[in-house]
Amino acid sequence: MQMVKKSLFIAVILWFSILAFIPKAELYYSIEKKLQAQDVKLNEKSIEEGLFSLTLKDVTVHVKGIAIANIEEIKFFSVLFYSTLEIHNLQTDESLHTQVPALMKDANFVHTITSPLSISIDANGSFGLINGEIGIKDKKIHIDFIETKDMNMLKPMLTKNKKGWFYEKSF
């Protein structure tokens, strides 16, 4: 029993030390490098490393050199069996408002060990309120529009059923 306790203790320490010692900023730079290949660049004012989290503040998103959106805060948190990505106050460039919503106030992406093959999405903004799921195994995105506001520009991409508008795409 003592041996089991000791092994468990070592496993827990090992688990958390692996997560705590991840070079998070460098991992983020590597993701930036991958995004650069897609002509996407993120300019952030500050990067804050937590024990299990990474927070980016005042992020400007550039696509092909064009600043298309500003994000007040992006926060990534992970203990592997529970991971979240929070996006706060995403504002798109004024010239794109006829094509995309002007504001996404909050968006949360959550992955838990209880549902390992999907990532749940919740968001609200000028378009209304949405929730949905990204299927990792079936490679499918499904988003339901719970409350709709200014979303006319999105309608060409959406489908309507009895429950309301939804977006579905395979990737």
Partner: protein, 281 residues
């Protein structure tokens, strides 16, 4: 306290520290071998200015803009169909139309009124009138008859143009070899980016990693873009003296297009460089 200094306890603590050190070392090796240590940021474009500025020497931009005093429209229960548009004269700073009303010919300037309808403006083959909150478009008469083609109710003095998200009101005209772009046309395309791509196909041209310009893949016939004189396979090199060497430069021009006074494009056509000039009215 005694327990803390037990050799077993110290050994356990040391083992723990070694474990942590091993994990840290492992991550360090991964970091050095595979992870990027440099933050990639979008460099700011240098605020370069055009090498030259076009100066309008023609007196088409009068020093003091003509103030059109809103005239009190008499309450006449007339119909737009009683008006026949006989002629249009469009100059750079003045538009005059000739209409037939009750067998009388009248010459109207912008702001003038006939049968309760006030002349708002004129295009190449049409005139726009308004009465109360409604707008009317009359096409130039053919065989002695003109047609009132539209009748729209204007929203109550909203800041946005009433033709938003609809077909652009203005057009590109040519007077004395000078192409004139109606400002409302620019405003329409500035607010409806989708409409640009319906009329003209544009793709990037790269020279290695650098952007060399934008190539015209197609221009829809009868669209305002066709009237600009641009053709398929033309390559746009610069706009208003600003070289288009990045998407950001192109987008900056697009964002400011509503405010430009003149427009000039440097294009290459069949390996020859040429300049297309336009005036905005």
């Amino acid at each position: 306290m005694k327990n803390l200094f037990k050799p077993e306890m110290i050994k356990s603590l040391l083992s723990l520290l070694v474990l942590l050190l091993m994990v840290k070392l492992l991550w360090f090796v991964i970091q050095v071998l595979w992870l990027s240590a440099v933050d990639i940021d979008q460099e700011k474009d240098q605020e370069s200015k055009a090498l030259y500025y076009r100066v309008k020497l023609t007196p088409n931009q009068a020093a003091a803009p003509k103030v059109i005093k809103p005239k009190v429209v008499a309450k006449v229960q007339g119909s737009i169909k009683e008006l026949t548009l006989l002629g249009i004269y469009n100059d750079d700073d003045v538009s005059v139309v000739t209409v037939m009303y009750k067998k009388n010919t009248k010459v109207l300037g912008i702001g003038d009124e006939v049968n309760g309808f006030v002349l708002d403006g004129a295009g190449q083959n049409f005139a726009m009138f308004s009465k109360n909150t409604k707008h009317y478009k009359i096409l130039l008469a053919k065989n002695g008859k003109s047609v009132a083609t539209s009748e729209r109710e204007e929203p109550k003095r909203e800041p946005k143009p009433y033709n938003k998200n609809k077909a652009p009101l203005g057009e590109v005209t040519e007077t004395g070899g000078v192409r004139i772009i109606d400002r409302s046309l620019l405003e329409h395309y500035a607010e409806n980016m989708d409409d640009i791509y319906k009329n003209v196909g544009i793709s990037e041209v790269k020279n290695g990693k650098d952007l060399d310009g934008f190539k015209i893949n197609f221009v829809r016939k009868d669209s305002p873009f066709a009237k600009l004189g641009i053709r398929r396979n033309d390559m746009i090199k610069s706009i208003n003296g600003q070289e288009i060497k990045s998407y950001n430069a192109a987008f900056a021009i697009y964002k400011n297009i509503k405010n430009v006074e003149n427009l000039s494009l440097i294009i290459t056509r069949n390996k020859e460089e040429m300049e297309l000039e336009y005036e905005i009215n």
